[in-house]
Symmetry: C2
Subunit: 500 residues, 2 copies
């Protein structure tokens, strides 16, 4: 056992009930997106809301809070025990800072706003969504005031999604990577180093055949079918129902097969993280990832750094040729080009590896201004379009491919987007450390040494669960803080074949 302290043991014993509610909420949410008959919506929503309130109530139970405070002040705890106290203290602090009334108002507004947003996006009508967004910004500003911050109200929101992340950190990251990305992008576009379109984008596939491809590919990467599933949902996601039950989903659009392939590999990366958490942490508050950013680093690592590399074509081509057939006539180099189309485009979720962070930067800047009260939602669409033009040289033709494209704001998430870029940074940083330890990644991939790769990730990141804060995890396990140079180097190498 890793837990010896009596106070921590009592905490964990009580926590099992909260964990069980989380376990149930996980399954309810998985079912919601996969198999639930549509008539079940209303009862399901009520059950989820009730169970969330119940979990909050148990977390804030007087005796439970007292035990957590006591553990927090204790000397001589080991890393895991300290982790338990830290994670729960943080959850309690957040829940306690925000009045229940505000929580409910945000949940309620977000529920309505998501419906309205869908309609607004369909119609391309920002005015419809505007009052809801204004309300959400106002509620989130109020959140920030309740949570507290030192420099910038947006800091309080960033911290909700990525512990300890601050505006000054994100600013300095983007200061480094935005100009660099734009420089690389200009060269790639000017020199046609990568295609901006590919005929395979239009090729239709059979869903059953493609499902076989996806299953075979994640099997090769090491997805354990006795502890997971691959299902279909409108938006791909990973859900951790338990450490031995981590499910992924994908979607099949019917053409442009790289989309479903890379969505599946992306989710595999998320799933592997939780599947490799130390089993002794099961049913504890440590049985998840260190943060959203670290989690995203795992999905991006497998999707982009492994999946979109030249050597991965060796692994995936036989699988494609076996099930899809139409890929046979394409050389490996051609598939590599198809997988790595570079095209400044409107939609974030379809963006390539190079332009992706520019989409995030745009949202980050606008969110920061809105939360600071320096940008009104009235002016948002124009600001969006202007910034888009400045960054990517294109101007949305309507709000649906501009300011209305993401679900995040309607669901109440402000401060979330930067974690995607953190993920890209950490993925590149991990790549460096993998290569220092195991040799060139291209060799590992060609030789299918995925077990070694999984082992490295397990020992370095996964097994710790959320024992350490994200910053501490990197310092302790990689020996250095978050560093954007690795991403800069990686992008230069990949897109310009220049070493940094």
């Amino acid at each position: 056992m890793v837990f010896h302290d009596e106070t921590v043991k009592e905490i964990l014993d009580r926590y099992k009930t909260i964990w069980s509610i989380g376990h149930a909420l996980g399954l309810l949410s998985w079912d919601n997106e996969t198999y639930m008959p549509k008539g079940g919506v209303e009862e399901r929503s009520t059950a989820r809301a009730e169970l969330s309130v119940l979990a909050r109530r148990l977390l804030l139970d007087e005796r439970f809070v007292e035990l957590v405070e006591r553990a927090l002040g204790k000397e001589g705890l080991n890393d895991y025990e300290r982790g338990v106290a830290r994670v729960l203290h943080r959850q309690i602090r957040i829940q306690k800072s925000v009045p229940e009334k505000l929580v409910f108002e945000l949940v309620k507004t977000a529920g309505e706003a998501t419906h309205v947003w869908r309609e607004a996006r369909k119609r391309g009508d920002f005015q419809l969504f505007k009052p809801y967004l204004a309300k959400i910004v106002e509620l989130r500003r109020s959140y920030a005031e309740h949570l507290g911050y030192e420099d910038h109200p947006y800091d309080a929101l960033l911290d909700l999604y990525e512990e300890d992340l601050r505006v000054k950190d994100v600013d300095s990251i983007f200061e480094r990577i935005v100009p660099e990305t734009r420089r690389i992008l200009e060269k790639v576009v000017a020199g046609e180093l990568f295609p901006s379109r590919h005929e395979l984008e239009e090729v239709v596939y059979e869903r059953e055949a493609m499902e076989k491809v996806n299953r075979e590919v994640v099997t090769i990467l090491g997805y354990p079918w006795d502890r997971g599933r691959l299902d279909v949902s409108p938006h791909p996601f990973t859900i951790t129902i338990g450490l031995k039950d981590v499910r992924i989903t994908t979607r099949y659009e019917g053409r442009d097969f790289r989309r479903t392939l890379f969505a599946t590999i992306h989710e595999f990366g998320h799933a592997l993280y939780n599947l490799q958490v130390d089993e002794r942490l099961k049913m504890t508050p440590l049985a998840s990832g260190a943060s959203l950013g670290i989690h995203e680093s795992q999905s991006r690592f497998w999707e982009n750094i492994v999946g979109r590399s030249p050597s991965f074509i060796d692994v995936v081509k036989p699988v494609l040729d076996k099930h899809l057939g139409f890929t046979k006539k394409y050389e490996k180099e051609e598939l590599y080009r198809y997988f790595n189309i570079v095209r400044p485009d409107y939609i974030r979720v379809e963006a390539d590896e190079l332009t992706y962070n520019l989409h995030i930067y745009l949202r980050y800047e606008l969110e920061k201004l809105m939360i600071a009260g320096e940008l009104s939602v009235d002016d948002l669409p124009e600001q969006w379009d202007n910034l888009m033009e400045e960054l990517l040289g294109i101007r949305p033709r309507n709000p649906s491919e501009g300011v209305l494209q993401d679900i995040h704001w309607s669901s109440g998430s402000i401060g979330y987007f930067p974690t995607y870029t953190i993920g890209n940074l950490v993925a590149a940083q991990i790549r460096h450390h993998v290569e220092s330890k195991l040799g060139p990644l291209s060799d590992l991939i060609v030789e299918r040494r995925f077990e070694d790769l999984r082992g490295f990730l397990r020992e370095t990141i996964h097994k710790w669960g959320s024992t350490f804060k994200p910053k501490d995890l990197l310092l302790r396990q990689l020996g250095e803080p978050l560093n954007p140079e690795y991403l800069v180097n990686y992008l230069n190498e990949k897109y310009l074949r220049e070493t940094g």
Copy 2:
């Protein structure tokens, strides 16, 4: 709204949390049997146990109990309001009578016993299972003492599954139907009125084709796919996740297609009950059936009285011919005979409509003796075999096809079996009332007036949920108490073409 009383409204508001836990437990259990990867077992068991304890704790919450007691004593409540108070009072009474320690011990013993039973059944080794069964009988006797009874300790257990059902009722039912069934059975066997074997039992089917048959048949009967699903599980079941999400499962053994067909129709009958409960009762303690027996009457009605009738062949044959093909060469009369094989055999779940109640009677007699302390588990296998021989004229060749065949005892259920026979009785009784109201059932079926049939069942039984006790429901809605004569008449008519 059907709920006006302030106390009842407060009860229902608080009950939403308990309902939500039940909703989650329903989905956890469905997932367990259908899609859960096998690695998830341990965490799932913990979550289910924790959530059950949590629901119990909320039910026994001081303020909640006080509200229920207050509602129970109130004058001027309507049927629904009284139903809420009655159902919750009963649940609280049961939970309060039995010490938590005893609940836990039974759950724990049953958990182990189910594993041991599976192994014992596989090996045909009763000795392996015996100590566990002895322990379960002892625990259930203790339950009976805690719950209290007037005449017979088994009464307390019967009441757990079928409110108000007593040994004297069940005795008088079997006194009427056992000799009558045996008389009919002897004539059927002697006169070869129905086949005892049929070549279609051996015919192999394609699972995909058979799934289409099952889906089409329940669609014809009126299963609403926007409020349900049909999946596959080792043992077919129905689960009510909400009034608008009632799922069924079936299984495919690969041959003898009537087994999966009738299992599916059986589950459809269960599902229809909950799907037709008055929507205004959603998320309340009334949002389920009146009792296990009444529930079983609905599944048996559709499976046997509708599904195994001569006229149903008109409905099902085109569907079979379309998807299975091999049925084309069989005349309707031949399919009818195949659906109605009569064969005294060892296994209850494979028993035909006629011999089924004899299997129940056997278990009932043995359970009653064990709970009264008049039969030791040492003597159980021999008593089983003797009684089997006496009732059905066959003697099991090993314990696996005798005393070890059912899961019920290992899971701690004693007193449950009689509800199956209650179901058969009520189904036949309902048939009589359907015909009085709507005309001959055979016409309804041939004319596919299933909407009328569903309407009758909805208005008579379903819509009330568990508003009334089972006895009161029959009295009020059919105008008479439970009466075995309807089953006797039905069996005489069907098997001997004699009207009673």
